[in-house]
Symmetry: D2
Subunit: 438 residues, 4 copies
Amino acid sequence: MARASSRPLFAETLAPDRLAALYRATRQRTLALIEGLAPEDMTVQSMEDASPTKWHLAHTSWFFEEFVLRPHLAGYASPDERFAFLFNSYYVAAGPRFARDRRGLVTRPTVAEVLDYRAGVDAAMARLLDSGEAPADLIELGCHHEMQHQELLLTDLLHVLSHNPLLPVYRAPTPLASVEAAPAGWQRFEGGIVEIGHGGDSFAYDCEGPRHQALLRPYELATRAVTCGEWLEFMADGGYETPGLWLMDGFATARREGWEAPGYWWRDEGGGAGDGSGDGGWMTFSLRGPQPVDPQAPVSHVSYYEAEAFARWAGARLPSEFEWERAAGPVQPGNTLESGALRPRRALAGSGAGSGDGLLQLWGDVWEWTGSSYLPYPGFRAPEGAVGEYNGKFMVNQFVLRGGSALTPRDQLRPTYRNFFYPHQRWQMTGLRLARDA
Amino acid sequence: MARASSRPLFAETLAPDRLAALYRATRQRTLALIEGLAPEDMTVQSMEDASPTKWHLAHTSWFFEEFVLRPHLAGYASPDERFAFLFNSYYVAAGPRFARDRRGLVTRPTVAEVLDYRAGVDAAMARLLDSGEAPADLIELGCHHEMQHQELLLTDLLHVLSHNPLLPVYRAPTPLASVEAAPAGWQRFEGGIVEIGHGGDSFAYDCEGPRHQALLRPYELATRAVTCGEWLEFMADGGYETPGLWLMDGFATARREGWEAPGYWWRDEGGGAGDGSGDGGWMTFSLRGPQPVDPQAPVSHVSYYEAEAFARWAGARLPSEFEWERAAGPVQPGNTLESGALRPRRALAGSGAGSGDGLLQLWGDVWEWTGSSYLPYPGFRAPEGAVGEYNGKFMVNQFVLRGGSALTPRDQLRPTYRNFFYPHQRWQMTGLRLARDA
Amino acid sequence: MARASSRPLFAETLAPDRLAALYRATRQRTLALIEGLAPEDMTVQSMEDASPTKWHLAHTSWFFEEFVLRPHLAGYASPDERFAFLFNSYYVAAGPRFARDRRGLVTRPTVAEVLDYRAGVDAAMARLLDSGEAPADLIELGCHHEMQHQELLLTDLLHVLSHNPLLPVYRAPTPLASVEAAPAGWQRFEGGIVEIGHGGDSFAYDCEGPRHQALLRPYELATRAVTCGEWLEFMADGGYETPGLWLMDGFATARREGWEAPGYWWRDEGGGAGDGSGDGGWMTFSLRGPQPVDPQAPVSHVSYYEAEAFARWAGARLPSEFEWERAAGPVQPGNTLESGALRPRRALAGSGAGSGDGLLQLWGDVWEWTGSSYLPYPGFRAPEGAVGEYNGKFMVNQFVLRGGSALTPRDQLRPTYRNFFYPHQRWQMTGLRLARDA
Amino acid sequence: MARASSRPLFAETLAPDRLAALYRATRQRTLALIEGLAPEDMTVQSMEDASPTKWHLAHTSWFFEEFVLRPHLAGYASPDERFAFLFNSYYVAAGPRFARDRRGLVTRPTVAEVLDYRAGVDAAMARLLDSGEAPADLIELGCHHEMQHQELLLTDLLHVLSHNPLLPVYRAPTPLASVEAAPAGWQRFEGGIVEIGHGGDSFAYDCEGPRHQALLRPYELATRAVTCGEWLEFMADGGYETPGLWLMDGFATARREGWEAPGYWWRDEGGGAGDGSGDGGWMTFSLRGPQPVDPQAPVSHVSYYEAEAFARWAGARLPSEFEWERAAGPVQPGNTLESGALRPRRALAGSGAGSGDGLLQLWGDVWEWTGSSYLPYPGFRAPEGAVGEYNGKFMVNQFVLRGGSALTPRDQLRPTYRNFFYPHQRWQMTGLRLARDA
């Protein structure tokens, strides 16, 4: 990377041994994710927004090659200089790149060749990490970058598999817990000036700062996420057919796309009580295969448009990202990628699986749409050079999501983390939590 | 209108004589705008975003018929019940409506018939205004609604005429003032908690409230709008070809649309010094016909994407809508639709044509893009019934503009007024003013 | 026109007085067609395939200006040189032209100005016709060209009016004849070598020649066109839902476009016996306004795809254009544009309104799709210069239609006349006659 | 197959041992084609017109399963009933099928599983062939069907590989013959009535009959195909920029697609004499990798639109399919799929590699566009049942090609064989031979 200055991206970098461990663990987890996949599964691109598994494997390696090995490991030579063109995603400053919507047309290098490429990068990284010359900030950034792609790899794979009428299963189903979900309640928060954004010296993405003050009014947050059962009520009440509940762009999108339920839901025509299918015969497709919709589980794969309409129907609203961040206590996961969850849990009263304040399901079930546009914080300036393209250039037309899903790696969970997607997108594990004025 | 309650939309309604005068003046101004137009000019729709002049004439009359006359004037009968279908814009609660993108296909009623329809509505409105039973809030809303359409009528007409290679002129050119524009400076504002939004009892659109507190940091605003001359520097510096200056969606839009200058600009191939064409031979098309680009005049017809990129290029940023509102002093127009301006003025030092604080061109030159997404203010709730669709359902994917343009009626100028458009749109008179952290 | 040689387009040109009479009559008939239309009606373009009335008025005048007046009338000057750009249709050799799909955006010149332009061309043409120097072949071509546009003017106008939910009427309805239609029969024709194509010295379009031999096998033609009643049977039998009856491209088009009946048909939901609506409540929209479908009248506004599927359903096929031409006896109209017909007649046994051989409705009811692709006849060569673009460059992807419709001028009826449209188009008055092997 | 009657598709079926040998050889050749391909190569679909290799492998097996094994082998059970849905191409009568444009999204079954499926079908077919009950006509049809897919498999694979900037090579390049190509000449044929179409009792596709008479006029055919060198002259003469040479639809397509050379050609910017690149630096991509354009080789990958324009530029025309068929003597291949050719040869005088009449390159170099629309022969009726959908429903909007390409299996070469593609398509090995009136 053409690093603009010697100033690190953040102050408190990891010690060498912890950095090496993070690198190894991150890289290893990616490989664990592809166990059981065939080369065919890893090659296909099902829409422009999603990328082939193979591309994720290669791109995350290219990131280390481009931003760490080339500038910092003397004598490093790429096994194929053309990979830089193939596997750069969107970093204009890092050179030209292959069209994003054609990633699925590139059959060579094969998966095996890409794994060789990964292994070569890993070997070079091991040398660099041993050398004492490793740029700790960039390597930690690369690890977090790869964690983001771990989640995307899975959501993109789910999208690919969902197009197959054979409904292939990525991981075997696990039995549902038989306990009842906790009832929903409201948690009140006072207004006032609060501190928002990442302020410490440890790693965070640039868009999480600068830390700054925001003025809040008193508000309440629902103590758990909206469930599939509640969503079925919205559907039964004509939610998808009532324009007055929707933003105009949202309703137009829903009509054009033919939405009448969350993503990956379909009605099992032969369904009904007794045969295992969900309420009204609704089924859903997940990385654990087709399953009846669980009314007690958080709804997922809903767009911002749907979430916003649901909130209006429920006489509530979406929280702002500041309201969410202020309310989130310490991270308490237990349902992340590391745990092999792959799907959201039911909210369990007393489980402590939220914050200490009584909010459940904040971490590791579904990403929660907020009503906040993804815009720069006051005083935000992107770093110079190619890594400055990491977040800043996306700050338009998207909405912020907070929390984390069952596909999110543990280290990505952070009260200040700002995820963002377009309001029409729903191939991520996106749900919602209601808010209202106090 | 199915009025949900007897509560008026706002508290301080106009006295009957002032209300009648406002109604007559508003309706008369609309008619003045179409002087010199042929029926052909008034029939065509040049894109989905724009409507035919004839449709504006009819829709504004339908608004009074639907929301005022039908519910409030006993015995009122529409000359043609089918007009409700043809001339409803987007009020779902007011019934079905004709497809927006096909408004230009409706040749009947003719312009003459629509003017008859207007006259009939005016006669009925006169009876109602005389009766003492007139719903003052709805009538004032209808007048403001018609003022908005006066501006749209002109921007849409400009768009139609611009497709004609004969470059027809709507109003005769007027000579440019020969004075130099004032140099740009910066005006500083302190941070702190400020009051934002319409708080009085007089008329304002629902989206201008509720009045609420916002927290600002110290900032500076440019004392005048960005000029065409400054924009030419941006162009000469490769602004349109430098992806690093742009939001990703913005650059993609600019490439797809082939933007290389503001809307309605083109390069006169035979142009050059001495023949009256502008810098580098750039010409622009306006309601006063084709004209050389005036380097001293505010740039107009730029999208949010372009404005945002320009600000980055200039080492500045766009102001937030709160920063703008707090800085705006009392309205001081002089360059509005009533004055027959039709194009922005040069900024004149000491002219007082801004606020008393030294800010020039705030009112009546170009709408100024802010960096704020168009979202509801805290506590916003749309009124019940069809008028509740006036603003709220557009609160996604758009950005707020403040101020007013040379096509804006005087009564639309208000420090709290929130105009909004999509970030790619540029057929309105949209420009920008720079801001920066203090 | 850059006429390549002094050789006329055809040998037997009209005498000067007959030529002048043809010119005047043709031009006058065009003006008669627009009686009762408002400028609004004449300005709008409802799809790329159709042009505004105003454009037809101007383009037919431009044709005389470009190909007759400029090269042959000394001192002729156009009132506006820019009209050549605006009103050239597709003659590349005649210079650049305005985009076809934007003809409806040109509001100026107004209709009144276009009529002035027409009058100016007529005055100049009168001088040229008086001078004895008039190029008779080009003028006769120009008249036939204008006759084609007379028909298009009406079909394009119908398309515009059909988008208006008010269903405006172009010409008052006329009562339907109460007589029964003649029953359908088959007329047999022997095989052998026949002469095809225009062979005389009088006017015909280039694509009607060269006259040449074709080999036919014995065949039969239906004695009248397929009726709406027969089409209703096809619909009732699931014709539009049975893929096995259709060409694959045809069925895909029908699905995509949502076809379930001929063009301009709709089902009157309140319809039924006794209220004047047609069979099953089907209504149709015509230049005489909305009308019940008449089961005895020839079906019209069906695409090639539909016609071909219908023929298969009926156990028959479409005739080849050679089979049609060989069977057509002398022209016997009575239902043409001159007669003010505007819609097809019922077939009347013994009416003689076909050929002397027993074939009814050959002339002046509906254009009849043939199963022949529009391809050049053996030895065809387009004339040099711009008029060479008249027909030849369209010889791909289209099918030949024969006969003529109720909107066709009498002088366009000719056994050798080859009309052609794309297989998906149905805004023309297009029907069919069945054929089968003998 | 729901076979409508016991009448075989053709009279002269193969003896059991020859049938079994044909089956085995055909199936074996398909497997030989995928040697060296990775699963990734075989999974991707690069456009709707092309299918993944894996799909071809499965679909050809499904054809035997559906039309031969299910109805004729007692007790046959498919390994997966859902394959019928996945691998039916377009046979509506054989049941519903997966969307054609999504074939590339189906990652399971994997290639290995599809090969198992093939092996299972082969085993069952071996039993049926041994049983003496095998329907010889359907099996021979299935073999020819698979041969067609062998060619498509390769053209589709070429299309996939061409999107890869690494330019992967399917088969190693072979040195070009150093001999000069034979000069072009003209071969004259007399006019008169000729017999056209397949008339014997042996296998042919339904669309090749019925045999019937056609009337020809005297004509001449070029003695060899148009070469790349001649095409370069067309390009140098502005062929792609001269609208007067083109059909209107053709020129519009060429502009829209940005065509300025045949498919798979690009200009090597560093190219020039001495470095191995072709004339003007033009390179081409083939199954043997990137190669300089060979001016002596037949041009390939040109659309009908381009071929038709070239012929006009050359003062000639395309032959009709009847002219071609009448001129074609006995099949004399030597450059087919079996020979491993993969690319067209230079025409060698005296090589006898055409017909005995002096026509070279008729067989096994490039498919030759004719000027004939793909329409049914007189008296054509599709067989009943699903196999009746094999050809008939495509008889619109396509043009006939004759001969065969270097990717065509030997057994597909036949003077009566009618290949057909849309006029804009050029991913097949399509070239042309000139004709003219004698």
